[in-house]
């Protein structure tokens, strides 16, 4: 009996695209593994990790969501350098809702997400017409301006911030809340981006004049993308407010703007899965490097450069390509 190598996806590709006449458990597994592995992984990890690494996982989920939010904007042709704006607005909204109005955290977080999304969109509405680096500059500056405003006017607790904010019911609620949000956002928005609606968003990045010429008001669509990304970022900030039980000026810090971009770039932009993968690599890496003290940022920067130089397409695109080339032995008569 002769045998030869065959790519696993051969039989699947041979059939008409979209027609799922699956013939074996192997193909079934091949098709579902990309969804199953991350889903199961994220849901099971909290059970095996210790307290410290659970916190790292939580932080990873937050940065993954910020990176997804960044990627959605980037797919629409808006390069944001100000994820910190979304994060900070959500953090303050949830803090105030809980601190002043006594809203339960599990209610305050989603309300703050929507509210933060609306405020982000309204704040950036006037600059939606700006393209490229001009838009980026504005997103970079606004959160830094907000820090100074809070400092100068002493609103919302000024430099002291607001403390004594209610935590989420338990660490398990915390973990599973943010992990299910991550999974829902990852798969939900991936689907959105591959729909006809998502195609319109991506086309704006590709050639905005051509989208306008198709009779589509691109500013309306950009505003929608902004609201989605803003809400997602705000949700992260709102969530962390209840984890820290505190909200203050650091929520507008540059970290929240820069690290998500690094995650998306290292993981591979344009897929959301890449952004998630990037966060899943960079956040733990940053923790591991904590041990080496002062030179941490140097090593961290070094790894970033290596990733980008070795796999400029992003890790996810590389894995995806390899996955489609998986071989198996088949019998030949």
């Amino acid at each position: 009996m002769e045998r030869r190598l065959e790519r696993i996806d051969r039989g699947i590709k041979a059939r008409a695209s979209g027609v799922f006449a699956l013939s074996s458990w192997r193909e079934m597994l091949y098709l579902s593994a990309p969804r199953l592995i991350p889903a199961l992984g994220f849901l099971l990890l909290p059970l095996v990790l210790d307290n410290y690494w659970q916190k790292v996982l939580l932080s990873m989920a937050v940065f993954a969501l910020l990176a997804i939010s960044w990627d959605i904007l980037a797919q629409t042709g808006m390069i944001s350098l100000g994820q910190g704006l979304f994060f900070g607005l959500g953090a303050y909204c949830s803090g105030i809702l809980n601190h002043s109005l006594g809203l339960h955290p599990l209610l305050a977080v989603p309300v703050a997400a929507i509210l933060g999304g609306v405020i982000s969109t309204v704040v950036l509405l006037p600059v939606l017409r700006l393209r490229g680096v001009y838009f980026s500059m504005v997103t970079l500056i606004i959160p830094l301006m907000l820090i100074r405003i809070i400092e100068a006017t002493k609103i919302f607790g000024g430099t002291e911030g607001l403390s004594g904010i209610a935590p989420l019911p338990s660490k398990w609620v915390e973990l599973y809340f943010i992990l299910s949000v991550l999974l829902a956002a990852l798969f939900g928005f991936r689907r959105m981006l591959s729909s006809d609606y998502g195609l319109v968003l991506k086309a704006i990045k590709d050639n905005d004049l051509s989208v306008i010429n198709a009779g589509i008001n691109i500013y309306w669509y950009k505003a929608q993308a902004l609201f989605i990304a803003g809400s997602l970022g705000a949700l992260c900030g709102a969530f962390m407010t209840h984890v820290y039980m505190f909200v203050g000026m650091p929520v507008f810090a540059l970290d929240y703007s820069i690290l998500p971009i690094a995650a998306a770039v290292v993981g591979g932009p344009g897929t959301l899965a890449g952004a998630t993968l990037g966060a899943a690599i960079l956040v733990p890496l940053s923790e591991i490097l904590r041990g080496i003290g002062g030179l941490r940022i140097v090593f961290y920067g070094y790894f970033l450069v290596v990733f980008i130089v070795v796999l400029p397409e992003g890790i996810f695109h590389y894995i995806e390509r390899k996955y489609h080339q998986f071989d198996r032995w088949v019998e030949v008569e």
């Binding site: 006809d196 195609l199 319109v200 590709d206 050639n207 051509s210 009779g215």
Partner: protein, 250 residues
């Protein structure tokens, strides 16, 4: 429908800094007419198209479409009223396969309004439209990325994107430029079919021979000014046009 012109361009002016691109341009267009807009390089043809389609605001003057003043309206709003244009420099979505390029116009409010609901499967409509302009159904070319398509197909794609919008007034900016004679010959029937459907068309062309076979009337621009208007053969006889086109073989 003899209720006045579908489009009336009324004493338009446009200057870019010191460059006077359009000077006192006026013309009318009857429903179902095919107007050729010609003139030497830099005479303001594309600027005229940009003014009508809303991409550029006139310095002075008015554009009246079906009795409604559309001067200064945003380009996407102009499309909604039924005016579609192609770009002289094709503007495909290079990151998408050709047929996915079609999804964007098919997604637009104009199309939704015209078919009074939703497309079931936009991909199928996209492939039909592409076949209409000459993407052979069995050749897979419609599935290729726009970034690898030759100019001939990009021009057809540009046309198909405009047709997808079900326009009443279609403006084609140098559709034939850069195409072989055979390619032009294969697109002419598409335009003739659009005319039979009652669409009003403005064609900007340098390929006068091909244009004159299908145009009802031509307007000639030179240095942003209209120097002649009328039946194709008559217009080419006027002194002004001969001077403007000196050395250009018709």
């Amino acid at each position: 429908m003899a209720e006045g012109p579908i489009l009336k361009v009324d004493r338009l002016y446009k200057h870019f800094g010191g460059v006077q691109a359009i000077t006192e341009l006026s013309f009318e267009l009857a429903e179902g007419e095919l107007l050729g807009l010609i003139g030497p390089n830099g005479s303001g043809k594309t600027t005229a198209v940009n003014l009508i389609s809303g991409f550029v605001k006139p310095s002075r003057g008015a554009i009246i479409y079906r009795g409604r003043d559309i001067t200064g309206l945003a380009p996407y709003a102009v499309v909604r009223l039924g005016i579609a244009r192609t770009f002289q420099m094709v503007k495909p979505f290079y990151q998408l396969p050709a047929y996915k390029n079609m999804i964007i116009p098919l997604y637009s409010p104009r199309v939704k309004q015209m078919i009074g609901g939703r497309y079931g499967d936009r991909d199928a409509v996209a492939l039909d439209l592409l076949e209409e302009v000459g993407f052979e159904r069995d050749s897979q070319v419609a599935y290729k990325s726009a970034s690898v398509l030759p100019q001939g197909y990009l021009k057809r794609l540009e046309l198909a994107k405009a047709i997808a919008l079900k326009p009443d007034l279609l403006i084609l900016d140098e559709l034939f430029s850069g195409l072989s004679l055979a390619e032009v010959a294969s697109i002419v029937p598409v335009i003739e079919k659009l005319r039979k459907e009652g669409k009003t068309i403005i064609m900007i062309e340098h390929r006068l021979k091909e244009l004159f076979r299908i145009a009802d009337r031509v307007v000639v621009l030179n240095y942003g000014m209209k120097i002649a208007e009328g039946k194709p053969e008559q217009v080419m006889e006027t002194e002004e046009v001969k001077k403007a086109y000196l050395g250009v073989e018709v």
